[in-house]
Subunit: 192 residues, 2 copies
DNA sequence: AAATCATTTCTATAGTTATCGAAATATTAT
DNA sequence: ATAATATTTCGATAACTATAGAAATGATTT
């Protein structure tokens, strides 16, 4: 089962139960199976409306009907209800509600705001979170595992902005690059 | 907590989660707390819309915000989610979703269809379920605990319909009255 | 086969809600 | 204080859904 299907299933489950009259139906069917006519009389709705609600509940796998004499007798699928609520108790199920990949949408938005057409940094964002997006973008100009003297670092950073000192300092501060105190060698720190 | 409040709370819970984008928000906040701006960028909605969704989730007690720097950081209340889903696992919670008293609405509807203005039975319904409603109505004319000879039973039943034999037989069949084989004594069986 | 009855499907309408853009509010930085 | 920025509130619109009544379908009895 894919993440999207999971989400859809859970969404259908919640939508099915997000109605006052459908909750009442669930409650009545939990007591005993009942016909459409009986249900609509008890909760005070037209039979077509009740039928509609039952169809939605059935689509979510919460009820089903068997035919008995003149009547369609609907009954509750308690196990579906319990399966779903138990799934909610599992942390992983909740975390997977949003596709993990889509997280760069935010980065894209920040980048398009603060970069010009040639990929240079127009201005530096004041907020940490946005600045980090910019820095993660800039640091890709360095090869992982390679060591750079300060002079070369400045040359590379100059492609992004005049203020190489600020960039250099920030890259160190946010632990995207490392620096060796003595010889002035820099290197890119791998993201983990 | 009254039954109505319970239902309302559960209804609010389901309504809060019955939206695709709110489910995504829940998923994102399960990974880590985030700001409105970040959330709206990632799921691709306007910030006002995202704010609206967050407000609904907060109303249901599912998220809350703390302020940090420029941002309002929203985080997930995992315990609310778990409380609710555990409540669903308890059978009593589900049965109480509909007020128990309201079950006579159906009876009322059946009675008004098959009784005339004086409380007499116009015709006998063909369906078991409806016939039972009529019989439960008729049997109230007998005092619990008292014994009636057949002749008196017929007199009483005559107030409801000419066909006293059918009524008598049905009352026995559906175990609303008992009969003593020998002397022909009848009595009303208490509902349990 | 015809008749009766329960249920569903169809059609239309009213109420609710998701959405966005603009204006207002709140918070932090200068 | 003033400016900058993030968030919420407001107003309007579009999409969705609950609802009822009428017509169609399906099932049961005679």
């Amino acid at each position: 089962m894919t993440t999207q299907e999971q989400e859809f299933e859970l969404l259908g489950f919640f939508k099915a139960l997000a109605d006052e009259n459908r909750l009442k139906i669930i409650g009545l069917l939990a007591q005993q199976p009942r016909s459409v006519e009986e249900l609509s009389a008890v909760i005070g709705l037209g039979m077509s409306t009740t039928s509609h609600h039952l169809a939605r509940l059935a689509k979510a796998g919460l009820v089903s009907a068997r035919t008995d004499r003149h009547y369609y007798i609907y009954s509750l699928h308690t196990d579906t209800l319990k399966d779903m609520s138990q799934r909610l108790l599992q942390d992983e199920q909740i975390r997977q509600l949003s596709e993990p990949a889509s997280s760069d949408a935010y980065d894209q938005k920040v980048l398009s705001s603060f970069l010009d057409g040639e990929g240079r940094v127009k201005t530096f964002p004041a907020q940490d979170k946005k600045l980090q997006v910019i820095l993660r973008y800039v640091v890709k100009a360095f090869e992982p595992g390679q060591r750079y003297p300060e002079k070369q670092v400045n040359e590379i950073l100059l492609r992004f902005n005049e203020d190489t000192a600020f960039l250099r300092r920030s890259l160190i501060e946010y632990r995207l690059m490392g620096r060796e105190g003595g010889g002035g060698a820099y290197w890119r720190i791998d993201p983990d």
